[in-house]
């Protein structure tokens, strides 16, 4: 079986690609090294697999590349690429989000009409739910994103459904809930917290730290993608969470335990587009995919700490 992984040099894409290769798939990876964070970090993410003969890599943009050609011989698409960042998606930046998150997805789906695939797994986001008080978040709830980023992810998710309904593209969407673990993007909270902790700097916390997230370890996200390939019915949407809702303050306490000392905190104003709480209802993923998160927040944070410690040293 041969897979196409978009955003292969990114945080989730690189982990997923390694897993697919380990499980006997051949992978074509594509990435355009968007400059949201430094190229060298993404290059490092794929260094290991570059040596594998079952991995081919193309530096290209989905908006430019000959997609039907690229899909020739591909059985499954894992569409992981996106312009990330909730807070940066306002203003003139939105064009970057609409191009890379909406248009690129539409072009990829359109190409699948010409070069059919057996499964198309789309990496969606819990940000489609917005700031709802109706917790846990259910796939059947009305999505109401509060950031342009969330709007772009929801639009692409709807496109996946439309292309399934109208053209039979076997697309499945996985709504990832705040993913963390080794290779987490440098702009994400845990990465910054660990880096500051190791550099003996105060941790900058948006708001009072009582906002909570259903933090999901990247290993569980990868597992969910595999289950989506094997089991998910086309046209479906699934919440993929970590199984426990934790506040940022609780996370910092765990980080303090891992670091072995108390850490200073510096509270800053909440950011526009940030939601207060997220929590996934995973009944559907459990019943239909057999998904069950395995990595606890304590163990998961340790894996990220060790990775960042190695980076800093």
């Amino acid at each position: 079986m041969k897979a196409l992984v978009t955003g292969v040099a990114g945080f989730v894409g690189s982990h997923l690609c390694e897993y697919l290769i380990k499980n006997g798939l051949r992978v074509v990876g594509i990435d355009n090294f968007m400059d949201y964070y430094h190229r060298s970090i993404k290059e490092a993410n794929i260094t290991g697999m570059r040596k594998d003969q079952n991995f081919e890599f193309v530096e290209a943009s989905l908006l430019e590349v000959d997609l039907p050609g690229l899909l020739d011989g591909i059985d499954v698409v894992f569409h992981q690429s996106a312009q990330a960042g909730v807070r940066a998606s306002w203003g003139q930046n939105f064009k970057i989000y609409s191009d890379n998150n909406i248009l690129a997805t539409q072009m990829l789906l359109e190409a699948c009409r010409e070069s059919p695939v057996k499964k198309f797994v789309y990496a969606s986001s819990s940000s489609v739910y917005g700031d709802t008080k109706d917790l846990p978040m259910r796939e059947s709830s009305l999505p109401c994103p509060v950031s342009p980023y969330g709007v772009s992810k929801l639009a692409a998710e709807h496109l996946c459904f439309l292309y399934y309904k109208n053209f039979g593209i076997p697309a499945v969407s996985l709504r990832y809930f705040t993913v963390y673990g080794p290779r987490q993007r440098p702009d994400m909270a845990f990465h910054r917290f660990f880096k500051w902790a190791l550099e003996d700097k105060p941790l900058k916390v948006y708001g009072d730290g009582e906002q909570s997230r259903d933090f999901t370890h990247v290993d569980d996200i990868v597992e969910a993608n595999w289950l989506a390939l094997e089991k998910a019915l086309p046209g479906e949407v699934f919440n993929i969470g970590g199984g426990s809702r934790v506040t940022l303050n609780e996370v910092i306490e765990i980080i303090e335990k891992i670091a072995g000392r108390e850490l200073k905190r510096e509270h800053q104003a909440m950011q526009k587009g940030d939601v207060r709480h997220t929590m996934a209802d995973m009944t559907k993923a459990k019943e239909k995919l057999g998904y069950k998160p395995k990595v606890s927040i304590q163990d998961g944070l340790k894996t990220e700490y060790e990775w960042i410690r190695d980076l800093v040293e």
Binding site: V28, V58, E59, A60, S61, E64, V65, D66, G69, L70
Partner: protein, 57 residues
């Protein structure tokens, strides 16, 4: 180590979507129609229009 034939077969010029071929030095892919060279760096084909080099003829 060069890039595989299998990968070459699925690549096309991102500008015109037409055929490309490996240059003599095997360090780039050429689109004859657009007169562009897409470099291969560290065995990675860089299929980006902005990064392509015009070919003088």
């Amino acid at each position: 180590m060069a890039i595989s034939q299998e990968l070459l077969d699925i690549l096309a010029c991102p500008k015109c979507k037409g055929d490309i071929c490996l240059n003599e030095k095997k360090d780039g892919l050429i689109c004859d129609k657009c007169k562009l060279l897409y470099e291969i760096k560290d065995d990675i084909p860089i299929m980006l229009i902005d990064e392509a080099k015009p070919i003088e003829k």
